[in-house]
């Protein structure tokens, strides 16, 4: 793995390696000293063209816990507001010797462009591109599901993570809400399918994207029916992305109240689920719209844990992309014997 751009096409082995590494990273985060020396001297740039709280902070925390230097770059208050292109920004980052670039962009495919256009030599991590992909969110969701529904920490009596090495075979996961605008849904559908889980998307017809029949999942227009008859092991609520709905929230459904009644998750719907089922939400939540406060704060809601797991998953992603033989990713054997100190020079020379 050189970049982490999408969960589509991510192999099952790589996905499980990411989850297993996340489990080990999570174990270090309960220590008094949470910092690891692993990425000392490496530079991670957070390049955010879109507003974000938890993803940026999560990536920043993850990089710092691995001792990497972090540079935060947000489009607001930078040269981007003066009209600088993604390419010129990338060349600047390249000149500064960034080892990894975490990018969030409003345009679908921006991360792919950044990784493959030859502008910079750093590892690129997609932190959300338009309505396309958000792989680390899907990984942290899969990690949370695995921890809760496959094997719990300490099940073997020695404090080890019993779910290490496991996939999600046979689990049923319902993804509910604004699928149309959701990169979280797209990333999750592919990753959960790769890991062996069954996925059903539940949304009003107006919020189901064109081409959904090619995705490896089922689609339902009825939440109650899906919950009662299909009995999912996990329900993942999606945020209604009002900022992407031109004409306000009225454009895709008649009224917020009606949406809430038909597709909102509340205590009544929670009661229909099997006892082990968990409730998830990638955040930020619209309380009272897609999820009621009672459901969001219920003991079976793992929403806060998702955030904590996000740090571990992003540490794993940064570790797996940034450690390892630089030669094997650059496919040049001559650079093998160069030491860490000279690799920056080499990078700029390339």
């Amino acid at each position: 793995m050189k970049h982490l751009l999408t969960t589509q096409g991510l192999s099952k082995d790589d996905a499980i390696l990411l989850l297993d590494t996340s489990a080990q990273m999570a174990a270090t985060q309960s220590r008094e000293n949470k910092k690891l020396p692993t990425l000392r001297g490496r530079t991670v740039v957070n390049l955010f063209y879109e507003d974000s709280t938890r993803t940026r902070i999560s990536f920043e925390t993850a990089a710092k816990r691995l001792s990497a230097d972090v540079i935060n770059f947000s489009a607001k208050g930078s040269s981007v507001s003066k009209g600088e292109s993604l390419k010129d920004t990338a060349l600047t980052l390249h000149a500064m010797g960034a080892d990894a670039v975490v990018v969030r962009h409003w345009a679908s495919g921006a991360a792919h462009q950044l990784a493959h256009a030859g502008w910079l030599d750093a590892a690129v991590l997609n932190a959300g591109d338009g309505m396309h992909q958000h792989p680390t969110q899907a990984l942290l969701d899969a990690f949370t599901i695995r921890r809760h529904l496959v094997g719990r920490v300490g099940d073997d009596g020695r404090g080890a993570d019993a779910s290490v090495g496991a996939d999600l075979a046979g689990l049923r996961i319902a993804i509910v809400g604004d699928v149309l605008h959701s990169r979280v849904a797209r990333s999750n559908v592919y990753l959960l399918h790769t890991l062996g889980a069954e996925v059903t998307l539940v949304a009003p017809p107006t919020l189901v994207p064109v081409g959904v029949e090619t995705w490896p999942c089922r689609v339902s227009y009825h939440l109650d029916e899906t919950l009662e008859q299909w009995q999912p092991d996990a329900v993942m609520m999606l945020r209604v992305q009002r900022e992407r709905m031109s004409g306000g929230s009225g454009a895709f459904f008649p009224s917020p109240m009606e949406y809430s009644r038909k597709f909102g998750f509340d205590a009544r719907r929670l009661a229909v689920l099997p006892d082990h089922a968990i409730v998830m939400h990638p955040g930020p939540m619209n309380r009272g719209l897609e999820i009621s406060a009672a459901a969001a704060d219920h003991p079976r809601s793992v929403i806060v844990e998702q955030v904590a797991n996000g740090v571990a998953v992003r540490m794993a992603a940064l570790y797996l992309l940034l450690s390892g033989d630089i030669a094997s990713t650059n496919s040049s054997t001559s650079s093998t014997s160069t030491s860490t100190s000279s690799s920056t020079d080499e990078r700029t020379a390339l």
Binding site: A27, R158, A160, V164
Partner: protein, 244 residues
């Protein structure tokens, strides 16, 4: 279920095609000169002696914490713990594992390594402060793994004493590190490979095997092996790599 047995690949290298534990020494090409230095009974005796030495040196087993370094150090720690529990009934028989991957100094010179588990014995309550920690590894070579282990320990707490037990000491240290308890001192040349095979990891009988200098591309077969000179000096490293 103990942690070591579900992650035998922790010291191997993901991405490389080597599936180290699967082949037997006799079938691997290029190992015609492989010879067994320690057999099953030798290893058992060495571990029993080390267990007695640990008790003798520390005047009992109070505050003793055994931490095995994955992969094979974990199995050795388990066996030592069994023996210690027999010698000193007060000893709980517990052992832990200490993964050193994220503390290694060669992370950028090797293909990406999978991170293993660090698990402290349950009775410790998550701290090793003021304990007597005995690190257990299979082969002591350059000393770099142990250096990484000492850093890893430092992040877990402040032990009163740290000691090192190794089944085999093959010399060629690159750092000022020595073992407190050694199963067998093996004079080797740098180009030789020392491999510890344990029944519960590799299948077959326990053995310590030395094979000669890799003369052909067969070297690939041992890539990532715990006992392989993965921490060898830079020039050695480069040679190995070009052979792959």
């Amino acid at each position: 279920m103990h942690p070591g047995s579900r992650m035998p690949e922790s010291s191997t290298t993901p991405g490389s095609t080597s599936e180290t534990p699967s082949d037997t020494p006799s079938t691997a090409p290029g190992t015609a000169a492989a010879r067994t230095v320690l057999g099953e009974a030798d290893i058992a005796r060495a571990l029993t002696r080390i267990a007695h030495e640990i008790v003798e040196r520390n005047k009992g087993a109070a505050d003793l914490v055994l931490l095995g370094i994955p992969t094979r150090g974990v199995q050795l720690a388990e066996r030592l713990a069994e023996r210690l529990a027999q010698i000193e009934p007060a000893f709980s028989g517990e052992f832990g594992t200490l993964d050193v991957t994220m503390y290694r100094d060669d992370l950028r010179r090797q293909p990406t390594r999978a991170v293993g588990q660090t698990v402290l014995p349950g009775s410790l309550d998550g701290t090793i402060d003021d304990k007597v920690v005995v690190l257990v590894d299979d082969v002591l070579f350059s000393g770099r793994t142990i250096r990484a282990a000492l850093d890893a320990l430092n992040d877990l707490g402040r032990p009163r004493v740290v000691q090192l037990a190794a089944l085999v000491d093959r010399g060629h240290r690159e750092l000022p590190i020595r073992a407190d308890y050694v199963g067998k001192n093996l004079p080797t040349s740098r180009s030789e490979r020392v491999r510890v095979r344990l029944a519960d990891v590799d299948g077959g009988a326990d053995a310590v095997v030395i094979s000669g200098a890799p003369t052909d591309s067969a070297a690939t077969d041992f890539a990532g092996e715990n006992a392989a000179p993965e921490n060898a000096a830079p020039e050695n490293d480069a040679d190995e790599r070009s052979a792959r």
